[in-house]
Amino acid sequence: MKMMLLALVAIAGISVVANVVLEGFAVPAVVAFATKATRVGVPE
């Protein structure tokens, strides 16, 4: 029984860490796209 409870605690803890880390990857569209602006008429 103890191991079951410990597992639930571990799930919660790892999830919180995952949350914090994942948020770091979320980039606002303004930042994601503004820095890669293409110039009109310049062929790729």
Partner: protein, 199 residues
């Protein structure tokens, strides 16, 4: 009741992006979100065509069909809208949309895409008060409530982008094709409305 549609006459579009600018201005669309955009096919080659594309407000809208929380609804004018309060930002509507209309304020992380935003046919959203400040902040302009057509079509410099009752704009287009004698096809019309225009 009028069945509202968009039609972009690719043989007239000159890629001036006035429609894009008008939409961004009227709806205060944040940088990085592209409700409307102009795509140029065969750029620089013979047969180059530009098409202004935003949400086409399809029959049997794929976005509405795949939404896990059923946040889409269709107005009496057949405009396809969604409720940002119910949207969970899962991104499925973007996978389903043939035209890439749904936009998200954040990128890269599935969990934090943010509330989906797209062309509303300048019809605002489901807030009770049409034209209220709350509605404007969330969804942008509500010109339809004032009896006006979307600003993109109104601002089109060559009148290539047509908005209005589907039958009416289809007949305008058919008349043009008859006059000039050729047509490169109405991009997206068949995909969105499952019909063709007899030209």
């Amino acid at each position: 009741m009028a069945r509202m549609k968009f039609l972009c006459d690719a043989d007239r579009c000159i890629e001036c992006n006035a429609c894009v600018t008008a939409c961004k201005n009227a709806n205060e669309v944040p940088w990085g979100i592209n409700r409307r955009r102009v795509v140029t096919i065969n750029d620089g080659k013979p047969g180059e065509r530009s098409v202004s594309m935003a949400c086409m407000h399809c029959n049997d809208a794929p976005c509405a069909a795949v939404c896990p929380v059923d946040c889409f609804y269709t107005t009496a004018d057949a405009v396809v809208l969604h409720n940002k309060d119910l949207c969970i930002g899962c991104g499925y509507c973007f996978y389903a949309c043939p035209f890439g209309a749904p936009q998200y304020p954040k990128t890269t992380n599935f969990g934090s895409l943010g509330k989906m935003d797209k062309c509303t046919y300048c019809s605002g959203g489901p807030e009770e008060a049409d034209g209220s400040a709350a509605e404007y902040a969330k969804y942008g302009a509500n010109r339809m409530a004032e009896g006006k057509l979307p600003l993109c079509a109104e601002m089109c410099s060559t009148k290539s982008l047509l908005a209005g009752d589907g039958e009416m704009i289809a007949s305008i287009y058919a008349e043009r094709v008859k006059t000039r004698g050729y047509s490169s096809g109405v991009w997206g019309w068949n995909t969105a409305y499952q019909e063709t225009i007899n030209v």
